[in-house]
């Protein structure tokens, strides 16, 4: 059996174990892949990430819902823990994202889903958590030279804080270098446009596609 064919089988097992929400099986598969000399970067991309993309697809098709997607991501992260220490230092990153729930809101299930899909998609993610003041988004974007700020809220009362972030970015002369994307229950593409954001995504899977488009790695 050629080494390529062998690698393919490890990728498939990693991907399947993620889709099937089996954390133990993902751990075993990741360790087995390492022991067999499979390239860890490819094992992540074509194994774990591939599994998460399939899970994301099942989510869009309404086969999987939030509990299932969270279980898949637990399996994915477990595999990532094993493989990551073996990555070569200069592995390619899709870009840096600063993410958080805007000030006044603590609903972070949606934001966490988007974070998981970003990490799966090879983005470096700086998660500011929930109830985040507008200035903190701007400071974090500056300090990390972020490519993207991604914000969410579930409450109509807090939507305006998103516009404040766009304004503060402008005042800090950072607007041209940072793409802004927004999402959450009450947010619409029209609202995104009104506050001067670069885009709106309806769910976590869409968010990653949009991010890739915005930073030109699609």
């Amino acid at each position: 059996m050629s080494i390529n064919k062998q690698s393919e089988e490890y990728y498939r097992e990693l991907s399947d174990s993620v889709v099937e929400m089996d954390e133990e099986r993902t751990l075993t598969a990741a360790n087995a892949a390492l022991a067999a000399g499979v390239d860890p970067y490819n094992a992540i991309q074509q194994g774990l990430s591939h599994g998460m993309e399939r899970a994301g697809q099942l989510f869009e098709e309404e086969e999987y819902f939030i509990p299932e997607l969270l279980m898949c991501s637990d399996a994915m992260y477990a595999g990532l823990e094993v493989l990551k220490p073996h990555l070569k230092k200069n592995a390619v990153s899709s870009g840096t994202v600063v993410i958080g729930v805007i000030e006044g809101d603590t609903h972070d299930i949606g934001k966490n889903m988007v974070r998981i899909m970003f990490e799966t998609g090879g983005f470096k993610v700086i998660d500011l958590g929930r109830d985040v003041a507008p200035q903190r988004f701007v400071d974090a974007a500056r300090d990390s030279s972020a490519d993207i700020i991604a914000m969410s809220t579930l409450m109509t009362t807090t939507m305006d804080g998103m516009g404040t972030v766009v304004k503060l970015l402008g005042e800090a002369n950072l607007r041209s270098g940072v793409k802004v994307m927004v999402g959450g229950g009450p947010i619409s593409p029209g609202f995104a446009k009104r506050i001067g954001a670069d885009g709106y995504a309806v769910n976590a899977a869409e968010a990653v596609k949009l991010a890739r488009k915005l930073v030109g790695t699609a």
């Binding site: 819902f65 939030i66 509990p67 969270l70 109509t156």
Partner: protein, 341 residues
Amino acid sequence: MSQLSPKERLLNTLAKKRVDRPPVICTGGMMNSAIVDVMTKTGHTLPEAHFEAGRMADLAAGIHAETGFENIGIPFCMTVEAEVLGSDIDFGSLACEPKITREQFRSVKDVVYKNFATMLDSGRIREVAGAALQLSRRYPDQPVIGSLTGPVSTAASLVEPMQFLKELRKEREQTHRVLEYVSNFLIAFARTLIDSGATVICIGDPTATGEILGPRMFDEYAVTYLNKVIDGIHATGVPVLVHICGEMKSVKPSIPLLHSDAISTDAFVNLKLLKQEYPQLTTMGNLSTILLESGDPERVARRTEGLLLEGIDIISPACGLSTSTSLDAIRAMTGTVKCEM
């Protein structure tokens, strides 16, 4: 039939008796209308009114008088239950509602089961009940609606929500045990409010949506425990409203399984079609809160007319109102239903 009091009109509607026109209500709790306009006008303000029966009653009375809603609704948050069960609450400000800052447990396996009698005497339970008592005496013709946070949301306010959602699959036995406990507590809380004069109970369960749980988990957990709470309240003879958040597509067939006396939905659910498909449902809703916040009374009135033409049984905002919603917009809604416009 023109002599129907607002209380009779709502109770008759819920009992599927004929009424002169739909009631226009705003339940309190998740869907409260403690807007900044009312608070500045009446001087009864949040966060103070979250804590004390008299202030809570005064604000609820002020809302009723200013908005024209045909009910009184208390409390003004979704944190009364979580506070008593042990989580940390940030009580917010005039314009910002209270929220959970830290859930007490990391896993359903860690939940410590407390005594109901002690819980009913702690936190703000007695204050909400006291407000219900004052209001039911002051307004005998108005329905006093006591609002509860639903069992799934309350459980997800007690156990860290991301973990909780995973444990719906991974720790089913313990999750059922926690939901059983939370549901029994909610029934006890509802009965306390009913003993104090609440006419109707409304349950809002924003974590229990089809979008989050999917149909299988919605049936296994949301339908089971919503019905347990509803049945516990029905045993006292009091009707129950249930609000389902979000897009309902994936769980639509489960909606008629709920034992509630009316179903309230978010703005993007077509209530007219839902009613056509399930004629047995009493529908409630669903005026867009985004439209209400945009503040154009003309458009609010037109959309309200639309809901009336579609035969929606109870006219109500579709979700939690933004505190910056204008009184003019709300009055356009209530006035249109009452034919004052």
